[in-house]
């Protein structure tokens, strides 16, 4: 990167915010892909059934729970 830009605190702040946003976007994209595969088993219809939409939403939340459990399990091994 341009050395002038790299030393600019304002720019670094803006880049860090953008980085946060990128990480959130990536997490949503990854979860959508995984939960789509789990929850949408038939051919896509003209609207989601209530089962499909609640599966998607549960899938995302359970993934977060699981990720927390894995973290705890891993920490307990240290």
């Amino acid at each position: 990167m341009d050395p002038n830009a790299a030393g600019n605190p304002e720019l670094i702040q803006l880049l860090n915010e953008e980085k946060q946003r990128a990480m959130v976007n990536e997490a949503v994209a990854k979860l959508t892909s995984a939960c789509w595969d789990k929850c949408i088993t038939g051919t896509p219809g003209s609207k989601f059934s209530s089962g499909e939409s609640s599966c998607l939403s549960n899938c995302a939340l359970r993934y977060m729970d699981m990720s927390m459990l894995i973290m705890k399990r891993f920490q307990s091994m240290q």
Binding site: D2, A5, L14, V28, L31, T32, W36, I40, P44, S57
Partner: protein, 86 residues
């Protein structure tokens, strides 16, 4: 970063705002490309189950629905992660 280097003034000084606008535009482009690539993969899997000699009408309509539903699914996931009632 081609357009950035070709637009940057001699001496390399550029305002943080201009730099960020550029970064954001590049990122938006990259996100869109990645999303479309994901759609290709998911909808091909769902809708082109037995490739024929041409794309059939039911395959085309499946693809439109698949794209719409995938976008909707992204919204559902995003809302369930960031809604207040967690």
């Amino acid at each position: 970063m081609d357009s950035y280097s070709s637009h940057s003034p001699p001496g390399g000084s550029i305002s943080p705002e201009a730099m960020m606008d550029h970064v954001k535009a590049q990122l938006a482009q990259a996100y869109a490309e990645e999303f479309i690539e994901t759609l290709r993969g998911k909808c091909f899997e769902k809708c082109i189950t037995k490739p024929g000699s041409s794309l059939g009408g039911s395959e085309s309509s499946c693809i439109s629905r698949c794209v719409d539903r995938y976008i909707e699914a992204t919204g559902i996931i995003s809302r369930s992660l960031f809604s207040q009632q967690r």
